[in-house]
Subunit: 233 residues, 2 copies
């Protein structure tokens, strides 16, 4: 019988594991504070440095944030999708993933979320999307603002699909696409901006009409409108 490499859990990781389980299982509610560092030292018999490294692990994982001062301490955060986005950013930067891969992934995700949005959107979802659309259309001549509201619009559509995983994935790559290598937003001409608004409207109409096929089709058409002409590898 062969054994794989046995992972030896070190002190900080062991303590972090215990606390992590308490957080993810809900035994410690979001908003509540962990015991102060010095109390953890007494309870665990570990040194303060070790306890602090454990807390640093949890903080890096996004499960707590630490604040100094009286009534400070490590406060449990509600689990959100920032951690996924961060890990995806690492993957994109570290593996030098190209824009074609990002766009392709985005099409898969947004095609699916547009379809789901048409099937599941609530009145509140529609209101949220409409509010963003109004702000976006008002910002047609303010390019940075337009780009910002555009990102919000796509995220709102994804959220209307009510699948938290697909939403998380979509947000992860949306962040990478809006900041293409730190560069500013490419000069989209004014007629392009008008076309964007029109395309959004058509997608929203399909979602409102609960027409899943149309929502997916129009979203994909919208996304593909901005691809470089050099398509078809």
């Amino acid at each position: 019988m062969t054994l794989g490499a046995v992972k030896i859990a070190k002190g900080p990781e062991t303590l972090a594991g215990v606390l992590r389980d308490d957080i993810l299982s809900g035994a410690i509610e979001p908003g509540a504070s962990l015991a102060p560092e010095r109390a953890l030292v007494e309870q665990t018999g570990l040194s303060r440095a070790t306890v602090r490294e454990a807390l640093r692990i949890l903080e890096t994982e996004g499960l707590v944030i630490s604040r100094p001062g009286r009534n400070g301490g490590a406060r449990v955060q509600p689990v959100n999708d920032n951690g996924v986005a961060k890990a995806v950013q690492f993957l994109i930067r570290g593996r030098r993933l190209d824009n074609a891969t990002l766009r392709e992934t985005r099409e898969v995700l947004e095609g699916a979320t547009a379809r789901l949005a048409a099937e599941r959107r609530t009145a509140a979802d529609l209101a949220e999307i409409a509010a963003i659309s109004a702000r976006l259309e008002a910002a047609i001549d303010d390019l940075p603002r337009l780009a910002e509201e555009n990102a919000r619009w796509h995220i709102a559509v994804a959220q209307a699909g009510h699948n938290p995983l697909l939403t998380a994935f979509m947000k992860s790559i949306a962040a990478a696409i809006s900041h293409p290598s730190g560069d500013a937003h490419p000069e989209l001409p004014r007629e392009g901006r008008a076309a964007l608004i029109k395309a959004h409207r058509r997608v929203v109409e399909a979602i409102q009409a609960r027409d899943a096929d149309a929502a997916e089709r129009r979203m994909l058409r919208h996304l593909r409108a901005y691809e470089p002409r050099t398509r078809g590898k």
Copy 2:
């Protein structure tokens, strides 16, 4: 003008940020070691505790692993998709995402990767899938082994799609689906196992024939075959 909360970078995070940039930019190659802790202490003027917390951050992010002993130290790891999988696990556990969401997400991802696999698979991809299929078919009466090879098969198909992001997303949820709340594998009857093998074969045939529509269709049919009868929310 209103300002958002200004994020004050603490010592460890600042140092981690510098090192992280060096790693993600490729200035430090995977496999290479960071300077020893005591050297970083001298170079930065920080204390050893601070330096260690910085390294712990990088270790938690999966960018380095630290090993004791001579020639030990913090070794830079190639960036992989484990970090994404870990963050997704947190999201699933912390937000109590249900199996319906996981299955739905899986269908979106695997439908897309099956399609891409048909378009892009290389001879090496096909060989890899064939090897796994052979092992899987040989393990038809060894349920744990079957489940393991089944997971490998789906991952191999995703990889044949040559989109690292979609592959990472798919692996992230595949891990959660194979371990449904720690329970063992449900007793799939023998004829179900035979049907699984047949379904796999049909998918592979489509991928081999570069028939993207058929690959997607057959993969979705395969995935939906195991859903509970209570469909349609």
